[in-house]
Symmetry: C2
């Protein structure tokens, strides 16, 4: 049982992902997830509002890590450089979870309503980054635009990374920032 995380939240996530893979997302109930984790349904609902939320629990941590890194960027960083730093700072978190992310993506690709939830999550992160830029003294429309452009790079890098064999989020993201520069330059 050494593969099981010791905290209930981690156990529940592990159990849910195992079951989603073994028998399918649609077929898996909260009761089964709790049973597999050796916990009660009551405990499940203390940590997650439903089974869908197990797939999206990382969103808030990711957002918090990005916002913190954005606040820590050098004061003289331009809006897009500050966003670039914030995204680069979290890239490492992804590589640790490449296999898990691939499995999760397979589930999301098969469920349009989960894609909608994923889109909403990214929109929320973009809003938080725009707010973080405003706190650095950047005004709109630049704050909104730099945050959205950063999320465009992030989404594009994530889509490439999650389908890659190796999983090098830092390198993939740097490549996508260069791609954005080239697109904008060529589009003038």
């Amino acid at each position: 049982m050494s593969r099981w995380p010791s905290n209930p939240r981690g156990r529940l996530e592990q159990a849910a992902m195992d079951l989603f893979i073994e028998q399918g997302y649609d077929q898996t109930t909260v009761a089964e997830i709790a049973e597999r984790a050796g916990l009660t349904e009551r405990t499940f609902f203390r940590h997650f509002s439903d089974k869908r939320e197990v797939l999206f629990q990382g969103g808030e941590l990711l957002q918090a890590a990005m916002v913190e890194a954005l606040a820590a960027a050098p004061p003289d960083a331009t809006p897009l450089s500050a966003i670039h730093e914030a995204l680069a700072a979290v890239a490492g978190i992804f590589d640790e979870r490449h296999d898990r992310a691939r499995l999760r993506q397979g589930i999301i690709d098969a469920h349009p309503e989960l894609q909608e939830r994923e889109g909403a999550k990214m929109a929320k992160i973009a809003t938080a980054l725009a707010e973080g830029l405003r706190a650095r003294g950047v005004t709109d429309p630049d704050a909104r635009l730099a945050a959205d452009a950063g999320i465009a790079v992030f989404r594009s890098a994530f889509a490439k990374w999650v389908r890659s064999e190796t999983g090098d989020m830092s390198g993939t993201m740097e490549g996508c920032f260069v791609a954005l520069e080239k697109l904008v330059e060529a589009g003038r």
Copy 2:
């Protein structure tokens, strides 16, 4: 009654918006919308799945207009120029509906679940534009990235335009494309 559109769909939209403004979005029922439009609830549900959809009916038309304009962009246009042309082509639609858009935005701002729906709508448009770029021979990640960067500009321009007094979507969007170029240039 000359202010009423002659088609049922238009009448229902007019009635719904009037009621949302007069008595609030939450307080308005489908029965009241149908009554105000002089139509039956049955007719309402032939056109909209619920009252929320009245606010989002423009999304599909907008997406179709953008995708069509994207396909019509010159074959040698760069990915971001082609997106730029597609967005510029639909700007005129917005100015005709500035007052209505402001009222609609007020309702959306007050309802987080509608903001989520709006975010999902924009994500769907971005996906359609990326697909349109692939049809033009652009490969990923450029197709995805140019579409998302275009939507970032669009969202930023829309946010500025909808809160403006005059309503000049073309000019606002051109300004935001220039702002993106400057952000990217300064971020190098």
